[in-house]
């Protein structure tokens, strides 16, 4: 619905959607986008629960779209849960549903989604998404949808932007929790081993570890040798300081010693081929496994007692920090600027001190990892933090 309103400006109707996975302060992005669009005389709507509000409007008695008018935006609480809600799976190309024969199936509803967007006269879509969501929106863009993405990542692992929305809130909460673990470790005279989010990139573990003065930080970028870690802990944990703090990113890798073989089982013979044992390299180890592996491994190498803890999903909730509130508003307003400029198929990137619009191809299929010769690594080493491998 593009209507000329004079001076070369056009009345537009844009939509905002949020991908799967919560991060604190999503309302800030919505507020930024709706406010900036309002200043241009555009109408902004939000799609409920990913794309569900458009694909399944019958599920929403109040409508699957939320009109983000100035009155609503003025009263939106930036600390509250996102006004648009979320869906656990947001992929219109691969939608799980139950068919008329009561059988579960995955179907491609991308064309239906595009038809619905057209029927709602939506000119452009702002997607607040992580890495996977960005690939999905890229596919929709290739099907001629006008898309601008806002990068959202707890782990800050999205390429082409310095800081993704949500990272700072996660970092602040992680630091607060590590402080508490340190106090508990001090009083219990043990070594706390805390697993934090970071499957592919160790920003959260490293920056939080530096902030709290951790003894050890293990990140995916540096495969760790537990013998080296144990030797450093033996130096650090003394009678005068009988406690320690180890921060482990969930994707941290240990230098392999010996890998247990899959237990043979008669059950395997009845499974389809490629069935493996738990100890196989094929097994996806997720939440909690890294902390447990490191804590158990260290306890076998040193005299001190270790205890594993997992922050994991705790960091996804709560209120946003001041930085994320500001960043959210900036990203939302920046996305509207990209639409105004016709820069579709892009992601808004924060490249201090500027906001830039980079093609989605510069963000997808890349991971923003911690550079091994970068400043944070140097700082950590200069503070005496063991990174799992001696230089």
């Amino acid at each position: 619905m593009i209507t000329e309103i004079g001076h070369g400006s056009f009345m537009r109707r844009i939509a905002v959607m949020v991908g799967a996975g919560h991060v604190p302060g999503l309302n800030a992005v919505v507020m930024g986008a709706a406010t900036a669009a309002g200043k241009l005389g555009w109408e902004t709507v939000g799609i409920r629960d990913g794309f569900d509000g458009l694909l399944y409007p019958e599920r929403y008695p109040d409508g699957g779209l939320v009109t983000l008018d100035p009155g609503l935006i003025a009263n939106l609480d930036p600390n509250a849960a996102g006004i648009l809600g979320q869906a656990p799976r947001v992929d219109p190309f691969h939608v799980r549903q139950v068919n008329a024969d009561e059988m579960v199936e995955e179907v491609d509803l991308s064309d239906r989604l595009l038809e619905k967007l057209k029927a709602e006269k939506i000119d452009a879509l702002i997607g607040v998404v992580g890495g996977r969501g960005m690939s999905i929106l890229f596919k929709l863009h290739r099907k001629a949808l006008n898309v601008v993405c806002v990068p959202r990542s707890i782990e800050n692992d999205i390429a082409a932007t310095s800081v993704s929305f949500g990272f700072n809130s996660a970092l602040s909460f992680t630091i607060e929790m590590l402080d508490r673990v340190r106090q508990a470790a001090q009083s219990a005279r043990k070594i706390g081993v805390v697993e934090v989010l970071g499957e592919q990139a160790g920003w959260l573990a490293l920056q939080a570890g530096i902030a709290v003065g951790a003894d050890v930080v293990l990140i995916p970028e540096i495969p760790a040798d537990l013998a080296t870690v144990a030797a450093r802990l033996k130096e650090k944990v003394t009678d005068r300081r009988p406690w320690g703090l180890v921060v482990v990113a969930e994707g941290a890798k240990l230098v392999e010693t010996s890998k247990a073989k899959a237990e043979p089982s008669p059950l395997k013979a009845s499974l389809s081929p490629l069935a493996t044992g738990e100890a196989s390299a094929y097994v996806i180890h997720r939440t909690g496994h890294a902390a447990e592996a490191v804590a158990t491994g260290l306890q076998l190498l040193i005299a001190e007692e270790t205890y594993p803890m997992v922050l994991g999903p705790w960091v996804r909730g709560g209120a946003p920090t001041a930085v994320d509130r500001q960043l959210g508003m900036c990203y939302g307003a920046g996305a509207v600027r990209a639409i105004k400029a016709g820069d579709y198929g892009t992601m808004v990137a924060f490249v201090p001190p500027d906001l830039k619009f980079v093609p989605l191809t510069e963000a997808i299929n890349k991971v923003r990892t911690v550079p091994l010769d970068g400043g944070f690594i140097q700082v950590a080493r200069s503070l005496g933090i063991c990174l799992g491998k001696e230089l």
């Binding site: 992929d91 190309f93 691969h94 799980r96 139950v98 024969d101 009561e102 059988m103 579960v104 199936e105 995955e106 996977r132 690939s135 999905i136 890229f138 596919k139 970028e221 495969p223 089982s265 008669p266 059950l267 395997k268 013979a269 009845s270 499974l271 389809s272 081929p273 490629l274 069935a275 493996t276 044992g277 738990e278 196989s280 390299a281 094929y282 097994v283 996806i284 997720r286 939440t287 909690g288 191809t361 997808i364 299929n365 890349k366 991971v367 990892t369 550079p371």
Partner: protein
């Protein structure tokens, strides 16, 4: 009652054929895994069997990397579907599963190392049976034969019926492994050719069944009951994949026993303690295993639940799987 084999459906999508199996029917057996499933059990151990069509898989262990190969990083492979992340430990390829959806057998076959493969291929009835026939001497000596598994073999009813009928013609015992979440017309097409039907009772309460499996169990139970009554000569063996915290409880086992015991052709009830052998396969498909934190049931729990079944069947020996 019985319906004839549909000659217009001589082919089906087969995931794999596994020889020397001993747990899915009498004797030594060959399991034929068919593609396609109508449920989405969160604990599924055969995720590569779920999609009805052949699908791409990627085995990073076989990839020799960009420097040595790099075939999939260039056309005709779709742009962005395969990539090597900057700063990675090695130069092995990764898959963007969202952008690789168009990859088919023709593209996968271009991968010289076999890292890219398709799960599932179209086969004729005779092709499958010729493979199954290779172990016919074992079947004769042990009373074994062919078991159709999946996925859900009843989702390809014409192909399954033709396979089973053909197996009978060749003198093999036949069995199917099914969850039975299909219209009855599919069931009645296949069962006339079945000697043993292994069937899953996953959960008792419909709402919980829907939560963990994708649909409730109303139609499934109706199909079971109708099958017991319509096909008195089939040996039915009930099964429960036993998952702690989900269905490894006495109440469920007793509910299943109450359902099956009035039917004398339900000759056994087997417990299949939850295992994690299938986890690695999710990675090959770029999928996320949703039940990661669940453990296998303890021996004590399995023994206790097995004793309830043994008592109901008037046995003293445990038959639970290790």
């Amino acid at each position: 009652m019985g319906s004839s084999v549909n000659p217009s459906a001589p082919t089906g999508i087969v995931l794999n054929i596994q020889r020397y199996c001993s747990h899915d029917g009498p004797g030594i057996r060959t399991n034929v895994f068919l593609k396609g499933c109508s449920l989405r059990c969160k604990w599924c151990g055969n995720p590569e069997s779920i999609a009805p069509k052949p699908e791409l898989s990627y085995d990073a262990r076989k990839c020799t990397g960009r420097k040595e190969c790099g075939t999939c990083l260039k056309p005709p492979f779709p742009e962005g579907a395969f990539f090597v992340p900057e700063g990675a430990d090695d130069d092995k390829v990764k898959v963007n599963w969202h952008l690789a959806t168009g990859c088919d057998q023709a593209l996968a076959s271009l991968c010289p190392t076999g890292a890219l493969e398709m799960f599932g291929k179209k086969m004729t009835v005779d092709e499958v049976l010729d493979e199954v026939e290779k172990d016919s001497s074992f079947y004769r000596n042990t009373g074994g034969g062919m078991t159709l598994s999946g996925g859900e073999c009843l989702l390809q009813p014409d192909f399954s019926a033709a396979l089973l009928a053909g197996a009978h013609e060749r003198g093999f015992n036949t069995a199917i492994e099914t969850a039975c979440n299909v219209p009855w017309r599919f069931v009645e097409k296949v069962l006339p050719h079945v000697d043993t039907m292994l069937h899953d009772h996953k959960m008792t309460i419909p709402e919980r069944h829907k939560k963990w499996v994708g649909v409730d169990n109303k139609r499934i139970l109706e199909n079971f009951k109708k099958a017991y009554e319509t096909f008195p000569d089939i040996d039915f063996i009930a099964r429960t994949p036993l998952i702690p915290g989900i269905n490894a409880d006495e109440e469920h086992i007793r509910a299943v026993l109450a359902f099956i015991r009035p039917h004398k052709n339900v000759i056994d009830y087997e417990l299949l303690p939850y295992h994690r052998f299938g986890l690695g396969k999710y990675e090959l498909l770029g999928e996320v295993y949703e039940l990661d934190d669940y453990k296998t049931p303890s021996d004590d729990v399995v023994k206790h639940l097995q004793s309830i079944i043994d008592e109901a069947f008037g046995r003293t020996n445990s038959t639970a799987r290790p």
